[in-house]
Symmetry: C2
Subunit: 452 residues, 2 copies
């Protein structure tokens, strides 16, 4: 019988729930906080940005390209929610960041899509001096006008951090001053919600899905939780993340190829309608010069998928696949499969990547629809990393995700345009959109509400 | 424009999610853990135990009373789940605990139910030397036989820690080796589940509810989370907790009056059937000698509510109220209201406390049924502090609560009996139960499944 039981050691652990042994140095240091930076690494971006950056540096080192943030959810008046001083402090902080040695060594030494030395030593060396260029910020009618002017090689890198900063500043503002348990329950519900999705996705045998949710994430720490949870929950079905930092930290594959900015810049540089018509293919030709294999995934929808396929040169059918990004997934996929067959290609050897506002319901439907007919994979974005719908204890919708993008708006002083398969996602001036529609046609474009 | 922004201070906070600055001393200390004690304070018990202990010391200082743990959920074979060595280590550890100075000062100086000096200086002084008595532990047919023999003043204090230890050891065993995110989602779901209950309860205007969930909690830290969350979520509708330690730490009211052990011991001490019939009232008379006011709440169901009311002396109708603890709440309440009216008392001035396996549905129903007719309050137990039903990511039911109690089984060598309004909750030998049924009758007793 015990008396003094030698097995007993008193633990601080019991109280770590809220009363951990106080680390006085950290506490004192924390009293001096001025800023809790949202972006802390230049690798906290999408992998395709680095791939495109290398190619841009090769073919377009001198083009001046302006990127601009566009909040498609006009009803959310961001300039009334986010403090301008806080926004400037975060953007300014992002501009102080450089690639660290460890990061550059990892980029140089890691294997991407099975390929070593994806990034040339010359490019890695150039990155070591890279920093984000200046920004231009105004408030206009309750929204922020946020533009990035400069060489395409530099402005392209603002897209992801700018969006991540805006989204996280909004989340932080909404949660400011809320009670400890209200916040605890908010995250508990969001975790439970994500896990219910994981449980549904687990039933899809052979599923291949990756995280594409960096730009519109609720916050960095939340994206990290989501990625790590889905990694544990889906096992090998979770093929990686577009976020380079999270890929490095979690030994996941970095996922991504290229974006609409390639055909948009190429189109803007066209000197006449004929050059305009061939611009999307010319830049894909440059892409395949830089990359091969699994990176040969084309976005068909910048100026409408129907016209893209109709006018595509024969070699486009040799590419690994397509990422339809604005048409409804099933009809877009069917159209591409039909086209491959017309070209004498076997769709079973081809890949379709679906990444336009996917969530568990549309993933299930699309997966089952194409089962056995074509290889498919999913890029799961906003509905993975920012689904707080119905999670706020007070029933507020202030954390529901918004549809915000950062797009090319001008190239060497010329306006840039995206038509998209969904006119709701089109960008550019009305007159230029009209010209592009004359060149590419309006066939197959269908207006659909855009939520994220 | 920035360069080096003086506003920026790098935080460890970003990494505190999983990579906080490592406190090396704590980490090293933790490597030496031998035991993570479940019970760490003698105040980690139900308030009524202390109230009863003081009265027992006054009227029954020499009675030898055995308490025994009874697992009514026989299908859960506790001795095959919980390691005997771990159980002994936890019980042994509990025996090393004394009341701390701070705890005794708080007991002496705090106001309970609006009354100062609820505990006499003499009792407080006696507590300073109190420790839990020995235990007797065997494995029998997949269950633990766990008995506490000794003076009633001492054995009574084992009820709550013994049950809390068994329940938490079971939870820990079930969760051992589970993945980080599986556990995170488990708790996320349980938090979300509790908060949905809080949101429903918030709609009941004038609700009075307190935590009665210590004995069958999932674990100490989880009970603390639940109590603190409900305190924030329900505000003044949350009137306190039966857990004395949590009441002290959170400046909540300590809630509780008395338990079945009082009439059970009194009945066991009866020398003949006439004494047996009057035993429940004799001990209530002793109770009102020790306490008054809000503490005059009687348990009517130890040997059946119908016979208790039928034979009760006039002064019982002067008491503040009843805690019906085994009959269905609405019919039990109606029966008592009818009895008060027969006795010429106004139910609107009386109090009913419902605490038998309540959950949000039965609380809502009972609350609405009695609205405006009688004062009511709720003791919310196992379904507050141990509701993990449907929360395990693997669909396991191994964390579903079990129905386990610690009851008086003998008094000075004589067998003890509880009849209850629900024969499923009866305890005692068959022959003694038969004798009690002869004396008190079987009227109004209804068999109902017992879940918690």
């Amino acid at each position: 019988m015990p008396g003094q039981n030698p097995l007993v050691a008193w633990l601080p652990a019991r109280y770590s729930f809220s009363m951990a042994v106080t680390d006085i140095a950290s506490r004192t240091y924390n009293h001096g906080w001025r800023l809790d930076p949202i972006v802390r690494s230049l690798l906290d971006t999408d992998f395709y940005k680095l791939l495109m950056q290398q190619m841009i540096r090769e073919f377009y080192p001198n083009q001046q390209v302006t990127f601009s943030v566009i909040n498609r959810s006009r009803h959310v008046r961001l300039a009334e929610i986010i403090d301008e001083g806080e926004l400037r402090a975060q953007l300014d902080h992002a501009r102080t960041i450089r690639f660290s040695k460890k990061e550059l060594i990892w980029l140089a030494g890691n294997t991407f899509y099975g390929k070593t030395q994806m990034f040339s030593p010359d490019f890695i060396n150039w990155l070591s001096n890279f920093r984000l260029p200046e920004y231009e910020l105004h408030k206009v009618d309750g929204q922020y006008e946020l533009h990035f002017h400069g060489p395409w090689t530099h402005t392209t890198m603002w897209e992801i951090p700018a969006l991540a900063i805006l989204n996280e500043l909004r989340s932080r503002q909404v949660m400011k001053g809320q009670g400890r348990f209200v916040l605890d329950v908010l995250y508990a519900r969001a975790k439970a919600k994500l896990w219910s999705k994981v449980e549904r996705l687990r039933k899809l045998e052979g599923l291949r899905l990756s995280d594409f949710g960096t730009r519109r994430r609720h916050g960095f720490l939340w994206q990290r939780w989501c990625v790590e949870a889905v990694k544990e929950g889906l096992g090998p079905s979770f093929t990686g993340t577009s976020n380079v930092l999270l890929a490095m930290d979690n030994d996941l594959e970095a996922i991504g190829t290229n974006a609409h900015e390639l055909p948009m810049v190429a189109a803007a540089l066209a000197n006449d309608d004929t050059e305009l018509r061939w611009a999307p293919y010319r830049i894909l030709d440059q892409w395949r010069h830089t990359y091969g294999g699994n990176l040969l995934i084309a976005l068909p929808d910048a100026f409408g998928t129907k016209s893209f396929l109709r006018d595509a040169p024969e070699w486009v059918a040799d590419w690994t696949g397509f990422r339809p990004d604005s048409a409804p997934p099933i009809s877009a996929g069917e159209e591409i499969i039909k086209w491959w067959k017309q070209k004498g290609r076997d769709p079973k050897e081809k890949l379709l990547v679906f990444s336009d506002g996917m969530d568990v319901g549309s993933i299930e439907e699309t997966f089952r629809h194409f089962a056995g007919r074509v290889r498919i994979s999913f890029g799961w974005g906003t509905n993975l990393t920012n689904d707080f719908v119905g999670c706020a204890p007070d029933g507020s919708v202030d954390l529901d995700p918004i549809s915000i993008v950062c797009k090319v708006t001008s190239v060497d002083g010329r306006p840039a345009v995206k038509l998209s398969d969904n006119p709701e996602k089109a960008t550019g001036s009305a007159s230029e959109v009209e010209r592009y529609l004359r060149v590419f046609g309006d066939a197959g474009r269908v207006r659909t509400a855009v939520h994220v």
